[in-house]
């Protein structure tokens, strides 16, 4: 499938940023709109213990899919609030099914794959919690994948090295991996970038 082809478009609920959501079915519990005080900039930790009263004002929600053990895709409603990601069975549910704290995780864009059950391409985003836990979210369009990637990365505080540096030739091989020449995209500063694969490091050497 090519980019921009929306096969399942009718099945997809519009993605909404809750605070701006004019739709009547956005209940106060879910959006935190009823609680009023807009000057309160709720930090994730301050909101601890208040999951059901209201989510972070900048909460972002949308439809996403998770894979079952039998490789079937199951629809979920995801809400990203502060550094917490909630999964609801469906939009409007007040009880979440799953929740992840994103602190310390890495967000990874995964290559598009074809889903036999949905008969279309699906766009995965992997949330990796080192050393060995991960969860993959699936999206039906590349656009949704891109928006969620951006939102998740903002939360995790990931800055992508490739946004800052333009990688050029290899200039050497060190004890722990390749060294590449690179140029800073804005100021043109030339640097050497040593790329170390985490797999090559023994746990004892990381601390």
């Amino acid at each position: 499938m090519i980019k921009g082809q929306h096969l399942n478009i009718n099945a997809l609920a519009p993605e909404t940023i809750l605070i701006n959501d004019p739709s009547p079915d956005a209940t106060p519990q879910e959006g935190g709109l009823g609680s009023g005080d807009n000057s309160l900039n709720m930090q994730p930790l301050q909101g601890f213990g208040e999951y059901d009263k209201g989510l972070d004002e900048s909460a972002y929600s949308g439809q996403l899919y998770l894979k079952t053990k039998t490789e079937r895709l199951k629809e979920h409603w995801g809400t990203l609030s502060g550094n917490e990601l909630y999964f609801y069975r469906k939009h409007g549910d007040t009880e979440h099914r799953l929740m992840h704290i994103l602190t310390g995780t890495f967000i990874k864009e995964m290559p598009v794959e074809y889903s036999e059950t949905e008969e279309q391409d699906i766009y995965p985003v992997k949330i990796v919690l080192p050393p060995n836990k991960s969860r993959i979210l699936y999206f039906m369009t590349q656009e949704k994948q891109a928006v969620w990637l951006k939102k998740l990365r903002e939360v995790v505080g990931d800055s992508n090295m490739f946004d800052y540096y333009n990688l050029e030739d290899n200039i050497g091989k060190g004890q722990f991996g390749l060294v590449k020449l690179a140029t800073h995209r804005k100021n043109g500063q030339k640097v050497a970038i040593k790329i170390v694969n985490k797999k090559d490091m023994k746990p004892i050497e990381i601390y």
Binding site: F106, Q175, V191, V196
Partner: protein, 187 residues
Amino acid sequence: MAQHPNIVGLIDLFENCDYYYIILEFMQGKDMFDYIQIRNFQLSEKRVKEMAFQIGQAIRYLHNYGIVHRDLKLENVMMSDNTEASVPKLVDFGLAKMIGPNEKASEPFGTLGYVAPEILKKQPYSFSCDLWSFGCIIYALLSGSLPFDHESQKETIKMTLNKKLEFDLPCWSNFTPECKDLLVQLL
């Protein structure tokens, strides 16, 4: 972080779930081995003194912070450029370790030909292992060969452990007794 004119500067650090990206100061020159190879392994004692002094300062700086490099060698010293005024800078802290003043390390790390005998004997060692390697570097800068080096690894180990330091190559006649004395003290 360690900032010293003779240590390659750390500019930034990135990571994603698979890789660390270590952004380092870019060196126009190559490593010290290439630097002396281009010059046919012939450097003046004055120039070697200059470079050794700078490397020595960097080593002292690291040791003051409790850091042992553990893999000092020509290949791990980068030159800022290819000119005669080029400045050497230490790189590759992959084997470096922080140890306390009375602490000893015991991991058998290093590069044969530069590695100190106490490490080869698997004895606990400390900062002085870097000084041994430093001695090997100066020896190599002056003579173009390593003090303890043989085609076979076994022989190199034997030489490092047992052989008395020798200044048998003809080029040593060009150098002052002071520099030989320094090497005798380091090795």
